[in-house]
């Protein structure tokens, strides 16, 4: 199956950054003007020159936002609210006060056979200073097809947002922002997409839904359910507190003991936490157990295959090999118990003929007739031995897998028990705090206070029940929509899976399995299985392995989702990180596959070091598909950097050579 693509991604052509004081050389602000080529655009510079800022400026220009670090993944609708104040502060330290009003970013990009040109100032993230759209089919491309000369800059921004969402085909600008900032950008925060259940639920439901309305609904329902759950908990907690107040009124002795409500609240929160953790653990172990069963099944099928091969070969081995076996005279003698030459009859005739045949001798003259036999037999024997070894090896694998599965099963039962008993504990806690007998004290004031408390308690308790009920009512619709996502993913698998396997293999050098996991019906995610090691969970991979598998998945999504002629651009910040030289080379190959084989684009930054990643990438891409930009031309260097200039030049030249050497 070939993917037709779902979205038109933007293809950046030009970036201009004006009056951005961070980029200054010899006390003069550099006017950055970069033509962005197809393929890889790599901005390389020493530490602290503003490489990360450059990527953030691009994203700011496109979305009006910079993501705040260390925040949990958000729903598309929440991104703006949660990041706007960080965005506003982010540029303040990077632009001089005197330049702040003048500083701006201009981006020209192509999408859906149109060229967009936007200018956004850093003083107002919700406005565009200029916005034009040109029709690419119009050869002159001189006039913007937008006729919005009288629009305010805020209006321009709104028109830009709706036009872009429309041209991209992604439903809403918020969805674009999510995709641009979380999926297509891999920044210094190393936000993982596929090891974060919220991020993967958002992404998968956007990528594998027939209708974007369904995606919206999934995300809405998820949020709604979470909100209802939290309301229910709050109401229940409120009820608990009221109950304690009543108890205090009734019993002053008890009052002393119960003064510390915080402890009770802590206990309640702890119980909720334990339920959530034990549920997660149970589902994880369940998935690991399933993987072990699957591996057993696969190895068993391999053993069966080997056994069939063995049987076939053995029957070949045990057959008499004489060429005379099918001879018509010999056949005649065997059928009639009669010598075909002299006509003598009797069973001994057959015995004699067969004996000679088994010894590879002519039945008449005893001449050796098949000199190759021993060689062939030995060859077969050798093959039998090889298969036998394989069967033995596989049997050992199977045995240890069965052993492992048995242990995992025990673990699973334990996890299930823990999960159920933690739920029971929570229910018991809630029940204990909702059933209370109300005595009268004989004191009228206290009694009327008690009755008021009772009313409030019942109200809160009912509220909690109602919220839980409301949440449960949403569940079937939510689960159904997730099922649709799963079915769509299954349909896309024949294209998506081999693509991911190819990219990840070029990096990790091993075959990876990837499959859809819908557990606990709250979130959906993709699971990996590293072959040969029988390891499934994320913590079983090293951190850098996870980074690049995450990038491989983003690349797969980009290729799968992009329509022809509207390929995606990934923004990757200093990817080399902690890789050793062998892996650097492999990552270079993976990036090159992405741009050379699938015509996608990367805008990346890199430190100046002897990175094999850049050399490998440059070699595969050549000047046609990669532009290597020295950042030294934008900014002043520190003394240390100046000292190392010779070294920097060496690295640059090395990469330049690799580029030209294509």
């Amino acid at each position: 199956m070939k993917s037709k693509g779902r979205f038109n991604f933007i293809n950046i052509q030009k970036i201009k950054i004006r009056n951005f004081s961070l980029y200054s050389k010899n006390e003069k602000t550099t006017e950055v003007e970069e033509n962005i080529n197809n393929g890889v655009y790599c901005l390389a510079g020493a530490n602290g020159l503003g490489k990360t800022t450059f990527l953030n400026i691009i994203n700011y220009g496109l979305t009006g936002l910079v993501l705040a670090p260390n925040k949990d993944v958000l729903l598309p609708k929440e991104i703006e609210t949660e990041n706007k104040s960080y965005t506003e502060d982010y540029f303040k330290g990077r632009i001089n006060v005197r330049d702040y009003d003048k500083a701006e970013i201009e981006i020209t990009f192509e999408i859906n056979k149109k060229t967009y040109r936007i200018v956004r100032g850093f003083d107002n993230r919700n406005a565009l200073r200029s916005f034009e759209i040109y029709n690419n089919l119009d050869k002159n491309k001189t006039e913007s097809i937008l006729n919005e000369t009288n629009s305010s800059s805020e209006e321009l921004n709104r028109i830009y947002q709706s036009s872009l969402a429309n041209d991209m085909g992604i439903g809403s600008f918020e969805n674009f922002v999510f995709f641009q900032l979380y999926v297509l950008t891999f920044d210094e925060n190393r936000r993982m997409l596929f090891w974060n259940e919220k991020a993967s639920t958002n992404t998968l439901s956007m990528a594998f839904n027939d209708s974007l309305d369904d995606t919206e609904r999934i995300l809405e329902l998820k949020k709604e359910m979470e909100v209802l759950e939290s309301h229910a908990r709050n109401a229940r907690w409120q009820a608990t507190q009221i109950k304690k107040e009543m108890e205090m009124l009734l019993n002053t002795k008890k009052e002393m003991e119960l003064l510390n409500w915080d402890d009770l609240k802590k206990e309640y929160d702890l119980l909720i936490n334990i339920v959530e953790e034990s549920e997660k653990k149970f589902h994880n172990i369940e998935s690991e157990y399933d993987t072990l069963l699957k591996r057993q099944n696969i190895i068993n099928s391999e053993i069966l295959q080997y056994k069939i091969q063995y049987k076939r070969l053995f029957s070949q081995y045990s057959e008499p090999r004489s060429r005379l076996l099918n001879n018509q005279y010999v056949q005649f003698s065997k059928a009639n118990h009669e010598c075909f030459l002299c006509g003598a009859k009797g069973h001994h005739i057959i015995e004699k003929i067969e004996k000679n045949l088994y010894q590879d001798q002519c039945p008449i003259c005893d001449t050796k007739i098949d000199n190759d036999k021993n060689k062939v037999q030995n060859q077969i024997l050798h093959q039998l031995e090889e298969i036998d070894k394989k069967i033995e090896g596989k049997n050992k694998d199977l045995e240890s897998l069965i052993f492992e599965s048995d242990a995992k099963k025990v673990e699973l039962e334990k996890a299930e028990y823990n999960y159920i008993s933690s739920k029971e504990k929570l229910e018991k806690f809630e029940k204990e705090n909702s059933s209370i007998s109300f005595k009268s004290t004989g004191d009228t004031i206290t009694d009327s206070l008690l009755s008021e408390y009772k009313d409030r308690f019942e109200k809160e308790d009912k509220k909690a029940d109602d919220y839980y009920k409301q949440r449960d009512q949403l569940k079937p619709e939510y689960e159904n929509l997730l099922k649709n996502v799963e079915e769509n993913y299954k349909r896309a698998e024949t294209y998506f899976v081999p693509l991911f396997k190819k990219l990840s293999k070029s990096f990790i050098g091993l075959d990876l399995n990837i499959y859809f996991q819908k557990k606990g019906a709250k979130n959906i995610k993709l699971n990996f299985e590293l072959l040969g090691t029988r390891r499934t969970e994320s913590y079983q991979l090293s951190e850098s392995q996870r980074f690049f598998l995450d990038i491989a998945l983003r690349m797969t999504l980009a290729i799968y989702l992009s329509k022809k002629g509207n390929e995606a651009t990934l923004l990757i910040d200093t990817p080399e990180g902690s890789l050793d030289i062998a892996y650097e080379n492999r990552v270079g190959q993976m990036f090159a596959d992405f741009v050379v084989d699938y015509n996608q684009n990367i805008i990346m930054t890199a430190n100046i070091n002897a990175s094999q990643l850049l050399v490998a990438l440059a070699k595969r891409c050549g000047e046609e598909k990669m532009y290597f930009r020295r950042m030294l031309e934008w900014t002043d260097m520190t003394e240390i950097q100046k000292e190392g200039e010779v070294l920097f030049n060496e690295v640059y030249e090395n990469i330049d050579r690799a580029l030209r050497g294509k």
């Binding site: 099944n297 068993n300 075959d511």
Partner: protein, 193 residues
């Protein structure tokens, strides 16, 4: 190595062996897996959750479905003298047939028997070789081969539902959907060739 025998697999291989042996005089182990898989497709087609079948399949390197629990049951049946290996294929013995007759009376097995019977009976109406060729072309198996992802095989019944709706197959009947499915797959094979 101790393997616990799954009751569903135990019954399925007895039942399939009994039928294939009747129609064909002998069977191969792989064919048990193949027809069990086909039965599971029909089970799923009738709207039952796949997990309720009792076991799942992966594919082997020849593109046949494979369930370890069936393999274990077959080995067990050979050991108990229910199946006999004649060298080139397996046959069900008299004892095996008796065992099958005993077990098919159990209510849970009666339910399974409907699907197993429909799956195997296709061989009466369509030449066995063609049935096998068709079933190996099943989209679930094909997909696993293409993705080479070593995952459990998933059943996709949309096409089968579409076909049976078109021909108006009665809802309580299984042989017609089974035959239509084999027929459809066979046409796909011929189109590909």
């Amino acid at each position: 190595m101790f393997n616990q025998i799954l009751p569903e697999a135990y019954f399925d291989c007895l039942s399939i062996a009994h039928k294939l042996d009747n129609f064909l005089d002998g069977f191969e182990e792989k064919e048990i897996h193949l027809f069990a898989y086909f039965s599971a497709i029909l089970f799923h087609y009738k709207g039952a959750p796949t997990a309720n079948w009792g076991y799942k399949f992966t594919i082997d390197s020849d593109g046949y479905p494979h369930a370890k629990v069936l393999s274990d049951a077959i080995k067990n049946n050979e050991k108990n003298g229910y199946f006999e290996d004649t060298g080139s294929f397996l046959i069900i013995t008299g004892r095996g047939t008796d065992e099958f007759n005993k077990f098919k009376k159990l209510p849970t097995n009666k339910k399974r028997e409907k699907y197993l019977d429909a799956a195997c009976s296709t061989s009466i109406l369509i030449p066995y070789k063609e049935t096998k060729e068709a079933l190996l072309n099943d989209p679930g198996l094909k997909k696993e081969q293409q993705t080479n992802n070593q995952d459990w095989v998933t059943y996709s019944n949309e096409k089968l539902k579409e076909i049976t709706t078109k021909i108006g197959a009665p809802s309580d009947e299984l042989l017609l959907p089974a035959v239509s499915w084999v027929d459809y797959l066979l046409k796909q094979v011929h189109m590909e060739n």
